[in-house]
Symmetry: C2
C-alpha cells in the first residue's frame, strides 16, 4: 500500500475541492438572493423536514456536519426568526429537540424546488448516467470509510 497518493489521485482531490467550492458558492448565493436563506439554514430545515419535524440537537449537528456550539447558535438565530423552536425531550432531561415551526415548514416548502433546480443546473445536468453510477460507487466507499 502506497503511503502517498500518485499524481492522478492528488489532482483528483484538487478537482474535488474545486468543484465543491464552485458549486456550493453558487447554490448558497441563489438561496440567499431568492429566499434570503443561508444555505446552512436551508440544510437544517431540510434535515428536520426529513426527520418528520424534529431532531435532537446532537443528531442535527451530525446531520448537517456542524460543530455543536455553532449549531446551537444557529438554532438560536433561526428560533429568533420563528423558523424552529426548541422542546424538551420527555425521557431525557438533558436533551433538547429542534422542531420545525409552521413558518419553517413553509419556507422549506418554498425553497426546496429552487434549491433542487440549482443542484440540477450546477451539478446533476453535467453528469451522464454512467458518471452518476461511477461516482456513487466511489463516494459510497469514501463515505463508508469515514463512518468509523
Amino acid at each position: 500500500m502506497a503511503t502517498r497518493p500518485d499524481p492522478d489521485r492528488l489532482a483528483l482531490w484538487r478537482s474535488f475541492l474545486e468543484a465543491h467550492a464552485a458549486i456550493t458558492t453558487k447554490l448558497a448565493a441563489e438561496l440567499q438572493a431568492e429566499r434570503q436563506l443561508p444555505l446552512a439554514w436551508f440544510d437544517v430545515l431540510t434535515r428536520l423536514g426529513e426527520a418528520g419535524g424534529r431532531l435532537r440537537m446532537r443528531e442535527l449537528a451530525v446531520a448537517v456536519s456542524a460543530n455543536k456550539s455553532s449549531l446551537s447558535r444557529q438554532v438560536d438565530r433561526m428560533e429568533a426568526e420563528g423558523l424552529v423552536r426548541r422542546e424538551d425531550v420527555a425521557d431525557d432531561g438533558r436533551g433538547q429537540f429542534a422542531v420545525l415551526t409552521k413558518a419553517g415548514r413553509e419556507l422549506l416548502r418554498r425553497s426546496t424546488p429552487l434549491h433542487q433546480r440549482g443542484v440540477q443546473r450546477e451539478f446533476a445536468q453535467h453528469l451522464t448516467d454512467t458518471d452518476v453510477a461511477a461516482m456513487q460507487r466511489a463516494l459510497a466507499k469514501l463515505v463508508s470509510a469515514h463512518k468509523d
Copy 2:
C-alpha cells in the same frame, strides 16, 4: 432537459457533500495537530510554492477559493508569523504580491508529505484506478462548467 435532478443525482450530491466534510475535517485536524498549521494556511503556502514563491493577492484569492478580504486578513496573520511577506508590484502601483519567506518555504516543505499521506489515507487509497478515471472525467466536466 430536466429542471430538477432525479433521486439518484440528488443522493449523489449529498454523498459528495458528506465525503467532502468528513475528509476535509480530518485533513485539517491532522495539519493543526502535527504542524500547528490551519489547512487554509497550508493551502496558501502550497499555491505560492507552485507559483514559484509569489502571487498577486487577487490571483491567490482565486487559487484558494477565498473571499478577497478574508485572504487579505489571512495574509496579515501569516505575515505576522513570518511565513509570507507582501511586496509591491513593480509595474502596477495598485498591486501587491504575497511572497513566501524562507520560514514559509520550510514549513511547506515539512508539511507537504504529512498532508499527502493524509490525502492518501482519507481519500486516494479508497479508490481503484477505474474510480479515479471515472471521477476525473466527471469532475472535469463540473469544473469546466464553472470556469465561465
